[in-house]
Subunit: 300 residues, 2 copies
């Protein structure tokens, strides 16, 4: 078994290749060609942390993968990494472990960002004058980096609750020629942007239906577990297209669950991202559509 | 993270310590003090193999564990190991991976055998003149080894379908002074033995109700998945005590599921092994009881 450190993984990582494989995986999942047992989650209430185990196998592939990921946010207070994770790659022909990727959750974060990029390619409106980011953490940074190869727009609004952290987020992008617009007012951002990516652990809606103009696309990545919500249920209900990386999860506990539980949307309104990427389901139909994608994260 | 090979693990393994910890774990599980997400299973139909992922956390413990185990039986035809497995041990305080145990499924096999020993201690009749083993593979060998420290009986009946394999199984034990009785007739074994351990992948009952005398205890370890069955439903129905390592599993797809589905037993008749070990539920009440324990395997 080969063991790879996160440094080796970062050096070997090819975003274009990863995006192409991710696209294949999402399409295979939507077509029912992937085994994805329900994820396991262990809670550590004493430290408000959790660990998730996800495994998956694309039928016919040479390997299958088991991923262990944990988020211990309070670790930061002790100067420790707050994310841990690894991927175990085994032969689907002999079961033999082939590689252990000690990525500390790095690949998970990259994968989420690349999924955001695939969504933007498929669903963003034809003209984007400004991109909006809600949240100014690592995932917001990765989403913006990932969008750079599929969007020419460099005018970026960033919303957060802490001006200092917002400014720290903006500086390196500004140095590279981005026009950065930090704001504490999510409405201001929503009204200015045609492509919005939400990457926060919010438990109350950050965006309201009446703030969003026709032609806007929103990708929400924060609601990867029960209790999280970035978008008002009324905004989800108002959208012309709803797309989920894994409809079952997103409707059970993800971003669309609130609108579903309130009776504002129906299961059938939600398309699988893989079906949209494969052209089997429409994403955006008209330039004036409001479209929303929710990413809950899964093994595909 | 420390990485241990199976050789290192075998050298460091202390059966008495492991049995004591296993006992604690089973008791904690039965008392609801353990988080055990449903196991994940991936099927590889092309090679009739599967992989299971089990994770568990005993509330308040310093670590949690994720186990990956796979059985690729056809590997043997190519001279390869047919079992693979490893355990990942992580801190429950920081999430940090602490140890990777590359045991190739060895610890899983030991754990099953030690559970059989705990069951025998709690449920075997006071007098055992002969022990019976159904199956003559690795698990039968480990069960017999594990029983040696809690049973003085050295008269052993072993049933299998292949006389040559039976004899090969018996030789090393005979050399150590055991009186070994290989047989192709399960009824002969059943009628001679007061403590019977079934460790086969049988899909049809091997033992019938009318063969089993009063005072017999049977431990069945083969039915760890749907489709497996070692005991006739009528035998399970006839028992005076039914005990399961994990009642939910054993009743859903394990050894007791057949009798339950046939309406011969009720959920309430099945006690958790941990409750029996803790004395919260009776195992054997009288020397003349027929008692049955079914082990389906889980993370505790």
């Amino acid at each position: 078994m080969d063991i790879y450190t996160s440094k080796q993984i970062m050096q070997a990582f090819r975003p274009e290749r990863a995006a192409a494989l991710l696209r294949e995986g999402l399409i295979a999942y939507a077509a029912g060609r992937m085994q994805l047992p329900p994820m396991q989650r262990i809670h550590f209430d004493a430290v408000a942390a959790d660990c998730v185990v996800k495994s998956g196998y694309l039928e016919g592939d040479k390997v299958f993968v088991v991923k262990v990921w944990s988020g211990f946010e309070h670790n930061a207070e002790q100067g420790l990494d707050s994310r841990h994770g690894m991927l175990l790659v085994c032969s689907a022909r002999t079961g033999e472990p082939q590689a252990l990727l000690l990525d500390k959750g790095w690949l998970t974060a990259q994968r989420t960002a690349l999924t955001g990029r695939l969504v933007a390619e498929a669903m963003a409106p034809p003209t984007v004058d400004a991109i909006g980011l809600l949240g100014c953490g690592q995932q917001a940074q990765l989403q913006l980096e990932a969008l750079a190869s599929v969007q020419t727009c460099r005018q970026i609004w960033v919303w957060g609750r802490n001006l200092q952290r917002l400014q720290a987020f903006c500086e390196p992008f500004a140095a590279r020629g981005y026009r950065m617009r930090p704001t504490l007012d999510a409405r201001q951002l929503a009204e200015a942007c045609q492509l919005i990516v939400c990457c926060t652990p919010a438990r109350q809606p950050l965006l309201q239906a009446e703030w969003i103009a026709a032609g806007t696309h929103i990708t929400a990545v924060g609601a990867d577990r029960s209790g999280r919500q970035e978008l008002a249920a009324g905004l989800v209900a108002r959208a012309d297209a709803l797309v989920a990386d894994c409809a079952a999860q997103v409707l059970e506990y993800g971003e669309f669950s609130h609108a579903l539980n309130a009776g504002l949307i129906r299961h059938e309104q939600v398309a699988e991202l893989g079906d949209v990427l494969a052209g089997r389901q429409p994403g955006r139909r008209a330039a004036s559509d409001i479209t929303i994608a929710s990413l809950s994260g899964f093994a595909a």
